[in-house]
């Protein structure tokens, strides 16, 4: 395989980058030896449980923990009073905007008011779980129930009960005087959209309602915390970011950062749901109070019933207009996003994700961040992307049907290209959407006729866009006594990072993957790195490691030059050996070099990546479905995902990301949705009734990888992990609509909803 290396000038044959390499940490996983926090047991360890609110909206009048404290076996009890009362708007470092730690503090422990069922109000540590559970029953909490607002549209009504008296809608002129559940209004606009809609030959519209869903990681949140007699806290966690966790813990606990070490153990799935804290702060404070290590294990019911943040539901209304030739002339969208009980779900990314891939002169997108009495929502793989595409890709499909245009042809006519304007007005960096669409058009998944079946069938196409982010990553390489590079990186591995980074360092050193050892450091042993999220880790850590490898090799070259009595620039380096350039010249391997010079001091190569160019992600998905008109059940028969990955560092890892994303997307598209009762209690808080797809519900998923390198990024690596979930629900919805002739606007498109749509809304 040939790709453009960093800088984009010179072509270079790659040795190990791009090869199909099995995970370097696969053996630990298949043998059960990989250590997740639940597997960690420390001497003298006690067990914590969290008392959670049974109300969706209530004022806390009084908490009396005295009976629980007195129970034999209970060693510590905490409530909100044990944590810092942070000011509204408090943030910790993350990217350009920071991360709202006030919100995280309230997911740690409710203060004065509870805003969802399952929000923590107290925590207990005891000698065993049974005692901790018994102690929870002895904590007396006096609640003053307040009217809950569970439905998104109802929460926006002018007379709705208000969740937060301090929230006044931002982005509205003049500023409103009274508080509201609408936290902010965001507008992206260009041209004259109303006039363009008026003039359009045809209009396509979408009125999508998307239920709240959950990331569904298999490992519930678990933390083990220990505080030593000097007050130094060590926290073993399942987290997407040990440094961000440390920053948040320091603020919420009122401790200096230098007194906290967060050790990221293996993460049993995260998908955005393990960025915030879900009991870590409580565990540390309990450990501090009792002087013993504390383990907190969330149950699956806690994870689903308010103990962790699900992904945002939304109401999205879109109108798109085109002229006679099928040229897109207008996009008009309203995006109402359900943030759950605390503000902060910016609709901006959803808005961009929905409109970015089409060149359109007139655009008006309007988004609202709305609070409801449901769990505070958190990120989920390309947050907002799948919701956005479910609406937009259907609106475009409706438009194609009205214009009698082939949906692929329509997209080819209107596709964004390098340099065309993104919704926010800046030009697109290098993208390969045109190539993707060409590939789709030639692939059997598109050219094969749809085979007839017992029930109606349809084929759907949808595109997906995700912007991703870069932020900062650090890594350092020490050279072992046998000359092998030992890598410590800051970013947590949630997607096979260790393997891909071993390939990068092996490539840079001309060694094999087996020669390289890669681990993630804790928050005291690695350099500051942002969270593993936003499709940024492989790109930025590659950049950091290219730099760290060069740094280490430069130091090694100096030493080799000394040993070989040559000048450094007269040495060639290849395959772990420095060689003087003259014929028959002397050579020294890294192993020999290190054995000879260990006493001269450590070789440490350092690399830091900041502000790397974005690795914009684009994909196109095609799927065939069959819909049973008797039951409304949708069966996905065939699924093909195309994606521009820039440079596939490790193709099977990328296929795995794509296939996993598609399976998650199919789940939300068809069976996964939170069902809230009017009182705010989640009715399907189990993995029985919250239906994650099984192996029988997911078809084989074909992956087509396309490589359009990103200039200015080593190897041209693009983000890969998020966009493959974005088009899924849109592709399935378009296929379903073409099978049954009607649209199902409510996601998930459960069998009942599909059957109702087929029968015109009435079942009898």
């Amino acid at each position: 395989m040939t790709v453009l290396p960093g800088g984009g000038n010179e072509k270079k044959e790659l040795w190990i980058v791009g090869k199909r390499v099995p995970r370097v940490d696969g053996r630990e996983r298949v043998t059960g030896k990989a250590i997740y926090p639940a597997d960690l047991n420390l001497p003298g360890m006690v067990h914590a449980k969290i008392l959670r609110s049974p109300h969706a909206h209530a004022r806390i009048r009084r908490i009396d923990t005295s009976r629980a404290t007195a129970l034999k076996g209970v060693v510590a009890v905490v409530t909100a009073a044990d944590f810092v009362d942070l000011p509204i708007g408090a943030t910790v470092t993350m990217g350009d905007a920071g991360y709202d730690v006030w919100v995280v503090a309230h997911t740690n422990m409710a203060r004065e008011t509870v805003h969802w069922v399952g929000q923590p109000v107290a925590a207990v540590a005891a000698v065993d779980v049974h005692t901790a559970e018994a102690a929870l029953k002895l904590i007396e909490v006096e609640y003053e129930p307040l009217p809950p607002v569970v439905d998104l549209a109802e929460a926006m009504a002018p007379d709705a009960p208000v969740l937060h008296s301090n929230v006044v809608t931002k982005g509205v002129e003049p500023a409103p005087r009274s508080p509201s559940n609408v936290c902010s209004r965001t507008v992206i606009e260009r041209g004259d959209t109303a006039a363009a809609i008026e003039r359009a030959t045809a209009i396509g519209e979408a009125h999508a309602r998307i239920d709240t869903a959950h990331q569904g990681y298999l490992e519930p949140q678990v933390v083990v915390a220990q505080v030593d007699p000097n007050g130094f806290a060590t926290v073993w966690a399942s987290t997407q970011g040990q440094f961000t966790a440390e920053l948040m813990l320091a603020r919420i606990l009122g401790l200096p950062q230098s007194k906290i070490r967060v050790v990221p153990l293996e993460v049993g799935g995260a998908f955005g749901g393990k960025i915030a804290l879900h009991g870590e702060a409580a565990a540390v404070r309990l450990a501090e109070k009792c002087g013993q290590p504390v383990k907190l294990v969330l149950t699956r019911e806690e994870v689903l019933q308010g103990g962790s943040g699900p992904a945002a539901g939304a109401l999205i209304d879109i109108r798109v207009g085109a002229d006679r030739e099928g040229q897109l002339t207008a996009i008009e969208g309203t995006y109402r996003v359900d943030a759950g009980g605390l503000p902060g779900m910016s609709p901006s990314l959803i808005m961009q994700a929905s409109a970015a891939l089409y060149q359109c002169p007139n655009l008006k997108l309007e988004g609202y961040d709305v609070v409801t009495n449901k769990p505070r929502t958190e990120a989920y793989r390309g947050p907002g992307g799948i919701q956005a595409a479910f609406a937009m890709e259907q609106a475009l499909d409706v438009l194609c049907q009205r214009l009698d245009l082939d949906p692929l042809e329509f997209r080819k006519r209107n596709a964004a290209v390098t340099g065309s304007l993104m919704p926010i007005g800046t030009p697109f960096p290098t993208i390969g959407l045109t190539t993707i669409l060409e590939e789709v058009g030639q692939h059997p998944c598109w050219t094969d006729p749809l085979p007839a079946g017992k029930h109606p069938r349809g084929r759907g196409l949808a595109l997906g866009y995700w912007r991703g982010t870069s932020m900062t990553s650090a890594a350092h390489i020490t050279i072992a006594g046998d000359g092998r590079p030992m890598v410590t990186m800051g970013p947590v591995d949630i997607s096979g990072t260790r393997t891909a980074m071993a390939q990068v360092v092996a490539e840079e050193f001309g060694l094999s993957v087996e020669d390289v050892h890669v681990s993630t450091g804790d928050s005291k042993s690695a350099g500051y790195s942002d969270i593993a999220a936003g499709s940024r880790v492989a790109r930025t850590t590659t950049a950091a490691l290219v730099e760290a490898s060069a740094d280490a090799l430069r130091q090694l070259r100096m030493r080799a030059a000394e040993k070989l009595q040559a000048s450094p620039e007269d040495l060639d380096y290849a395959g772990g050996v420095f060689r003087t350039r003259k014929p028959g010249g002397a050579a020294i391997s890294l192993a020999e070099l290190m054995q000879a010079t260990l006493g001269e001091g450590a070789i440490v190569g350092r690399g830091v990546s900041t502000r790397l160019p974005l690795g914009v992600e684009i994909g196109a998905h095609v799927c065939d479905v069959e819909v049973d008109p008797g039951t409304g059940q949708t069966t996905v028969l065939r699924y093909t995902a195309f994606q521009d990955v820039g440079c596939a560092l490790n193709p099977p890892a990328i296929e795995g990301q794509m296939q996993g994303s598609v399976a998650q997307g199919l789940g939300w598209a068809l069976t996964e949705g939170f069902d809230y009762a009017p009182d705010g209690r989640l009715r399907n808080a189990s993995l029985l009734d919250y239906r994650i797809p099984t192996a029988l519900d997911v078809p084989p998923i074909d992956c087509v990888l396309i490589e359009t390198p990103v200039p200015g990024v080593p190897y041209g690596v693009r983000g890969v992990g998020e966009v493959p979930i974005v088009p899924v629900a849109g592709a399935v919805a378009n296929a379903v609509a073409r099978a049954i002739g009607v649209r199902v606007w409510h996601m998930p498109m459960t069998p009942e909803r599909v059957l109702r749509a087929i029968r015109g809304g009435v079942l009898d």
Binding site: E301, T631, D689, T694, L755, L763
Partner: protein, 292 residues
Amino acid sequence: MQEFGYERPDCIEAAVGLMREGDTRALAGGTDLIPQMREGRRSVGRIVDLKHVPDLIAVFELPGGGLSIGAAASATIIARHARIAADYPAIAASVRLIGSVQVQSRASLGGNVCNAAPSADGVPALICHRARARIAGPDGAREVELEELFTGPGRTTLAPGEILTAIVLPPVLPRSAAHYLRFTPRREMDIAIAGSGVWIRLDEQGAIAEARIALASVGPTPIRAETAERKLVGERPSRALLEEAGRLAAGDARPISDTRGSADYRRSLVSVLTARALAQCCRSIGVEVDAP
């Protein structure tokens, strides 16, 4: 979880003796009982593990051609039993729908019956086959029609101290077949939103001589669709007849709306599942009927 005692008797008499104390619950596979206890949905002071009573986990052939299935025999054992697979395929197939492969290794048909969930996948095919329940108690043994056991969700007519010991199946009749269909949004690992078990026997002329239809998840207990059954008897199978029977069965259903589905949707499912299950029975007897 509250504390409880655990007993493992090795004969029926001992088991019955242990069941006398209030707050005692029999344990077979435990796949319903254990989560119920863990979640605090069922309070139990003592459990009596029936799996060490040999008679309770065995499948016997009865004189005259029937079968007796030990109440604590696992779904896997039942599904793999040669006689059950050959003569009562609807029962073998329906226990294969319970939970997952892992759950089937433990779950028993007796537990499926005694847990008395209206959604129990194992039950409609038993009712279709006119299964009887053999019960042991402090006053000795008794036998009743299995379908008479159910009184409501989670409730049966078993008296305190009684245990279900076996499910007794009468011999199969010529020109008869049974089939159970249920609907779940996922292919497995799911609970029936609605289910329909049907059994028919054709006479020599090809008309339906007898019909039994038992529905799951559409009432407080598994229920019979008697209007639909009456409609079928005396008629020759046709698509129109099966569809009509489906519609009548939907009318016999008494569903509620909950997180798994609305009452209307459940009725719609009963209609289509019943017609399709009837068509499958006809096919098994050798009569091709088109199904909706």
